[in-house]
Symmetry: C2
């Protein structure tokens, strides 16, 4: 475990701490090298968002939760970055929405699978799909190891929650007729554009918020909310996120104090 001793009063404390989790994840073989670069892309978009959950993202999260609650066989696909960033939250979310966790990697190796399995078990996961060769099934549309899914998991599910996913895989899952929910800070990524529901937010904030929404919907009748939300469409919400980012950039360009650093 590295410890760069980031001072708690550092203006970038949270962002630097999360960055350390990802770098530690690479050291522990949980995160692939390309996962570090992907994390950097996320950092940039999150910075533009203002590093807090914007109003449109709450709508995206509610829509995602309702879709998962209404699915027959929901499944959560976990990769290295998800396991490194929020293992406890993703395990907790999996339990309260009754959606099993499937380890599904872009850069697959036994070593990485084992490392991710260890992280998720430590975070309280009971059972993990995606790692038993007896249940491997193939998505023909994809090449190499990326095509392998679990017959009890992604293969037979109607709704897949795949945070931080690759565009080709998102598209392949959609072509198989599945509902795909993702979290991706880049509203223009192929994943964001291809998903049924895209959450344009930092996964660190999104999953805890989604847990609260599940509890809220479980606690009381939500037919009217459901009807209202189910009308929202992913394209319109993505456009709202782009507009929000554009407005933020303009706002920042007018902040005099920003330009008085030197």
């Amino acid at each position: 475990m590295r410890n760069h001793q980031i001072p708690k009063d550092h203006p970038r404390y949270l962002s630097l701490t999360i960055r350390e989790s990802i770098i530690n994840g690479m050291h522990n073989k949980v995160v692939a090298e390309a996962g570090l670069i992907a994390h950097g892309r996320g950092e940039a978009f999150d910075y533009i968002l203002g590093e807090e959950t914007p109003p449109f993202a709450l709508k995206q999260e509610r829509l995602a939760v309702l879709n998962l609650l209404e699915a027959k066989h929901p499944i959560i696909s976990v990769n290295g970055n998800v396991a490194a960033l929020c293992p406890n939250d993703i395990v907790r979310f999996s339990k309260i929405v009754n959606a099993p966790l499937e380890i599904n990697l872009f850069y697959r190796s036994k070593e990485r699978e084992d490392a991710i399995k260890e992280v998720l078990l430590k975070a309280g996961a009971d059972h993990l799909l995606g790692i038993d060769p007896d249940y491997q099934e193939i998505i023909k549309e994809l090449s190499h190891s990326r095509r392998i899914v679990d017959s009890r998991g992604i293969a037979s599910s109607d709704c897949v929650f795949v945070p931080l996913e690759d565009g080709d895989r998102t598209l392949a899952l959609r072509k198989l007729g599945k509902s795909v929910i993702t979290i991706d800070l880049n509203p223009l990524s192929r994943t964001s554009l291809a998903a049924s529901v895209t959450i344009t937010n930092n996964i660190i904030r999104a999953v805890p918020e989604m847990i609260k929404f599940v509890e809220e919907y479980r606690a009381c009748s939500h037919d009217s909310i459901t009807n209202q939300l189910m009308k929202l469409n992913n394209k319109a919400l993505l456009q709202e996120s782009l507009k929000f980012m554009a407005d933020r950039l303009i706002l920042l360009s007018r902040e005099e104090k920003l330009f008085n650093l030197s």
Copy 2:
């Protein structure tokens, strides 16, 4: 050397090839782990720019070149990402503007210094500053190994070209009264905001363009251009870059074909 065999007709070929250079750079000890995340942040902003040089960046590049040509002791500070991304161009640029190269690292180690030295010598560098302990000088404003500079280089220069630099160091150099020129795709980074001239562009495109500007200015009198350009101010150009990015996001949000992926 990894070889993921990125097909040349892949829509993201150039971006993926550059990404491979950075990952190879980490394997060869040239690039620090945090350098991968920083590269990802750059990718995101470059994507927003449209992955081509925008008009305002050409102005920033011209202004940077004029500042370097008019400096008494210009110096170029090179870190791991610069060495991994454009070793040949940075060596060529150093020669035509008569500005020596100084290896100056945020995460300094003998191993990384040697790896970067090797890359730059292979790219044709004759002489490198920043690696001879006999000439180490200290910037008091900075902590740890980040404070070490070369007495023949950064310490005595009036104008430092530091592409892809850290914010604290940029600020420290400015406080020492030096003119600081940087390349940084994030117009809101502390480096961008603190520099005397910020180039909001991908270094891969910026340095070759700057080489052409040097040749142009060397070939003919440029007094009128100089006078005109020297009036440009960094803040206004950064604001122009933010406005450009905001406009691009709005434009993209209206591109129907983008949303017809699935």
